[in-house]
């Protein structure tokens, strides 16, 4: 359950940013999740509920948006996107894909009052 510690970090960022951006309540949080981020959406939503209790983010909607990774096929040099690990190249069918760019786990837009 590393989701809980990630959500604590998330709530921590929301609290720190509150002073900077002048908000008192968070209504919606967008999370951009790359394929390598190892985050289970159900566990994330549950953990966010726990971690945000009693904070300015209590009751906020957690929106989890998957972001595909940029990959290059090592065999035919085709560039494309992958939504999960162990996908085959759509052109030549090779599994030898090099992962170039992954969103990881990023806090995106938030909606606040």
């Amino acid at each position: 359950m590393h989701e809980l510690s990630l959500c604590r970090t998330l709530v921590g960022i929301l609290e720190t940013q509150a002073g900077r951006h002048h908000y008192r309540r968070v209504r919606r949080v967008e999370l951009r999740v790359g394929p390598q981020a190892m985050v289970e959406p159900g566990a994330m939503v549950f953990s966010f509920g726990v971690a945000s209790r009693g904070t300015l983010a209590e009751g906020a909607v957690l929106e989890i948006r998957p972001v595909p990774a940029r990959v290059v096929c090592l065999d035919c040099t085709q560039e494309g996107e992958a939504e999960k690990l162990a996908e085959a190249c759509p052109v030549c069918g090779s599994y030898r894909l090099l992962w170039e760019e992954d969103a990881g786990l990023r806090l995106g837009e938030i909606e606040v009052d």
């Binding site: 998330l10 919606r28 999370l31 190892m38 690990l85 599994y95 992962w99 990881g104 995106g108 909606e111």
Partner: protein
């Protein structure tokens, strides 16, 4: 306040944003919209970078060992320490939820070990390792072994600043593990198939396992190993020594890393 990270002080976001950058957009929930673009793993990544820099300047090969519980991590480590302790300075960081059991097994070899008890947590992170290094300094021009918490899932997400990541899969666990837990294998530099002496008794296809592993990381070759019979140990030790020689070459003692 902690010297490494300042925990106890103000932690968290490092992004400075212009206070009016959000302008006056409104979202579906009726509130004001701000794009924060903050990396949730940035705090860990920052510690990992710092650890990596410490290892680089101290000429240390740091090896992060990941596997499920009971794959034989500690047994392999004990054998490895026994084989290399006369030639290479080494230290071990042990991650477990509870107990000092593993650290005691390591200390019995004469190599210093520090146990990190992660409590409820399922993985080691770069912050925990940074603190461990205050108590157990990385052995200059040597090898720091980091035995992660037994878990094929969560530890894969957290960069510790290691130079090499080794995943151990025991043949009793089944060849389909790379398919089921892809991330651990995707990030691995070496795949060890442990308990190879049990291969005749279990249905484990080395070929299939290698095939799955290649799909996750092209070139990731599995190495069959038995700490019990010694099979594969020579090859494993050669791999370790190669990494160690490379790490050793980056030794820069005159420039300490400042926090």
């Amino acid at each position: 306040m902690c010297a490494t990270c300042g925990c106890g002080g103000e932690e968290g976001a490092k992004h400075e944003h212009h206070p009016h950058a959000w302008q006056h957009r409104h979202g579906t929930e009726g509130g004001r919209v701000i794009d924060l673009e903050a990396d949730l793993l940035e705090a860990n990544a920052a510690f990992a970078r710092r650890n990596r820099e410490i290892f680089r300047r101290s000429g240390v090969l740091a090896v992060n060992i990941i596997s499920s519980p009971g794959s034989g991590k500690t047994t392999l480590l004990v054998r490895t320490l026994e084989a290399l302790r006369d030639r290479i300075p080494m230290a071990v960081i042990e991650g477990d939820q509870q107990s000092e059991l593993d650290a005691e097994r390591i200390r019995a070899t004469g190599v210093p070990a520090l146990q990190i008890q992660t409590g409820k947590s399922c993985h080691l992170d770069a912050h925990a390792v940074a603190h461990a290094l205050e108590e157990l300094p990385a052995p200059e021009q040597g090898i720091l072994w980091i035995e992660n918490v037994g878990n094929l899932i969560c530890p894969a997400l957290f960069d510790l600043g290691e130079g090499k990541r080794v995943v151990i899969l025991s043949v009793t666990e089944g060849e389909d593990k790379p398919r089921k837990y892809p991330e651990a294998f995707h990030g691995a530099d070496l795949l060890l198939l442990s308990k190879a002496d049990l291969l005749p008794y279990v249905d484990f296809s080395v070929e299939q396992c290698a095939d799955f592993a290649h799909r996750l990381r092209p070139g990731l070759e599995p190495l069959l190993l038995s700490a019990k019979t010694g099979k594969g140990m020579e090859e494993w030790l050669r791999w370790v020594e190669e990494g160690w020689l490379r790490a050793k070459a980056s030794y820069r003692p005159e420039k300490p890393v400042v926090a």
